[in-house]
């Protein structure tokens, strides 16, 4: 039998720089149409949720349907405030990076609802294992921006002693795990932490975040496997922002299945959520947290969103996607949508919004002033080089004491 030759399929996005934006492949289901199952629904009865999209805010800014978490206007305004603060913080930090005050920055523009709503839906004592794009978690948990800025500047008050790349925060007091440069490693760690909590008869749960691209890493698979085997009390979030640096989500397998669907294969429940809908994100997270806390195990949440920002300050998306993709993203902007909702409720106005932005900008500037008083990268030169030998191990071993001596002696001579 003669056969047609095989061919290698290489996924490609619908549009590239110079092309018209094409989101025609994305169908946006109406808000409110999905039922909210009870938190103890067996996963095998929930498979469809991996393919649907939980949405609460409709086109006119009204909250509709079963998943509406019915938050008070105050809570909504708090959420809005955190989102705006996160955005203004990002804007300012990128400017400072451009001015050479630090080496690197990563924005979460367009994804603010995720960090903020999820932090608000979780208990403050739950442990967060984030990737590098959930600064909203820290903002919503009330971590002072100046702490983050100190880290970004590697200045004298940097709680990480100038060691880490900017934005690789570690905030034990805010239940925020040390961000790793290595994608995905935090995911099985979140599961391990949750197993430890269950082992200890605690009531705290864990939550982990990875991006769409990162789902391809081994750690994603380890996490889902361990989570399902031991019914770990953990919420496993996949932020599908359509891009992994320059690779569209089809390169991670998104052409053939949703990322939420991965969960199905492990017998875990999955929720797929409009990540730009503050209310939907909040409600889905609450559902998953409630389930975990009730000893019913893990949930995977796919947060469907769009990375409106460049990957990082080292990246220029003009090289791989049309410049106006973000603007045309069919799920809109999370800040805008929550703002419209509050306005629709009669609880907000354009004026109050402008005032909020101004207030948040001021807050950023005030904290920035303080942070800069402790220095920026290289200015003044960081003044405790000997500290680089600490924390390799609990006690500085002899070998490192000698190396420290040597380094400090060289420094003295070199100056």
């Amino acid at each position: 039998m003669s056969r047609a030759p095989l061919q290698l399929h290489i996924p490609a996005p619908t549009c590239r720089p110079g092309d018209a934006v094409d989101f025609s492949g994305i169908t946006v289901p109406a808000a409110g149409i999905l039922k909210r199952p009870a938190e103890d629904t067996p996963p095998e009865q929930m498979r469809d949720y991996a393919y649907g999209l939980i949405r609460v805010l409709d086109e006119s800014g009204h909250a509709v349907g079963d998943w509406n978490p019915k938050l008070s206007a105050d809570t909504l305004r708090t959420g809005l405030r955190h989102m705006v603060l996160t955005r203004e913080f990002d804007e300012r930090m990128v400017k400072l990076q451009r001015q050479g005050k630090t080496s690197f920055y990563i924005k979460c523009t367009g994804e603010e609802a995720i960090g903020v709503a999820q932090a608000m839906a979780l208990d403050d004592r739950d442990m967060l294992f984030p990737s590098y794009r959930q600064q909203g978690l820290l903002v919503a948990r009330g971590c002072p921006l100046v702490r983050l800025m100190n880290q970004i500047f590697s200045n004298t008050r940097d709680n990480l002693k100038g060691r880490q790349l900017p934005i690789m925060y570690s905030e034990p007091d805010y239940g925020f795990f040390s961000i790793s440069g290595n994608l995905g490693t935090q995911y099985p760690q979140a599961v391990g932490w949750a197993m430890a909590s269950a082992y200890s008869g605690d009531t705290r749960i864990a939550a982990g975040w990875v991006g769409d691209g990162t789902t391809a890493e081994a750690d994603f698979h380890y996490a889902l496997t361990f989570a399902t085997v031991y019914q770990a009390p953990v919420v496993l979030n996949v932020v599908n922002n359509q891009w992994a640096i320059s690779s569209f989500q089809g390169i991670a397998g998104g052409e053939r299945a949703t990322f939420a669907a991965r969960a199905v294969g492990y017998g875990l429940p999955a929720l797929r959520v409009d990540g730009n809908d503050f209310l939907a994100v909040y409600a889905a997270t609450k559902w998953a947290a409630e389930r975990a806390r009730s000893n019913l195990g893990a949930t995977v949440i796919e947060l469907y969103t769009y990375r409106a920002a460049p990957h990082s300050t080292s990246d220029d998306p003009a090289g791989y996607r049309p410049a106006d993709e973000a603007k045309n993203w069919p799920l809109g902007d999370p800040v805008e949508r929550l703002k419209q909702h509050l306005i629709a409720l009669g609880e907000w106005s354009e004026e109050r919004h402008s005032a909020l932005i101004a207030e948040m900008q001021e807050q950023v500037m005030a904290q920035l002033k303080e942070a800069m008083s402790y220095g920026v990268l290289g200015d003044p030169a960081p003044n405790d080089p000997g500290s680089m030998f600490e924390d390799v191990l609990k006690e500085v071993p002899g070998r490192l004491l000698m190396q420290r001596e040597q380094m400090l002696a060289l420094r003295r001579k070199e100056v």
Binding site: R163, D219, T225, F226, D391, V392
Partner: protein, 337 residues
Amino acid sequence: MARMNMIQAINSAMDIAMERDPKVLVFGEDVGYFGGVFRATAGLQKKYGKQRCFDTPIAEGGIVGAAVGMGVYGLRPVVEIQFSDYIYPAFDQLVSEAARLRYRSAGGFTAPITVRTPCGGGIFGGQTHSQSPEAIFTHVCGLTTIMPSNPYDAKGLLLSAIEDDDPVIFFEPKRIYNGPFDGHHDRPLTPWTKHALGEVPEDYYTIELGKAKIVRPGDQVTVIAYGTMVHVCLAAAEESGIDAEVIDLRSLLPLDLDTLVASVKKTGRCVIVHEATKTCGYGAELVSLIQEHCFYHLESPIERVTGWDTPYPHAYEWDYFPSPYRVSQAIKKVMED
């Protein structure tokens, strides 16, 4: 005092650690109900319940990743990697995470985990059940690397490892689980029950990490080894007829450099022995340090006796395994030079 082989001593260490501290838990492939393919965890699940000693999916990276997360919570997980040949899937979690967590969080988070893993050849395990990958861990700052050579040390060192607040890789040379194999594979093995170091206190004790032990004092040449090779070197020393001082490192990192330097300054000659492949093996670091610290005392080049730079070949195991004869030839060589 009880008579224990190395498996029993290791089992006893975990038993005592679990008894003393509810934060200690033990898991890995086949370690739960069955008690481990080498039986190191036998009885622990029965005694402490399946929440404290359990089987895991076959995912070494997941095992270590979960252990790191548990360590962050505040537990002290002790995990088993069934063979050290299978530790590579966990390499990223060990190197990028466990080893660096304290540093990158400036002490905010730590990973007080212990990774036990059988290593070494001499059991006809072929190239994937015989490896000695210690040198890829000793290159990684933030890890402590241990390899005991007898039941007494194994128990005391393992208890120290479990209590250590940083990650420890604990290599168990499987060839000496049952007795002090000296490389004479054609002779019957002396079981640990007939060996002084098979006398192991049933109670708690620890051995400080980072202390080498002179297992045979001597004046003419210093022979440095660890794990199975300690016994091979002892045999070689006898057979060579040369008054060799044999040092058992026990702990590769931290390294007891003082003991080594004192010995080499005394003898002026040195042979370093390990089962791992030669190039960039741990022996290379030992040579470097000794030539640095004992340069003016050395009478001849330091010799390395190691596994050849090939995988461990099944049928040619005894041509690969560094034999007492090979070690004794090296001892004679450094004497002649």
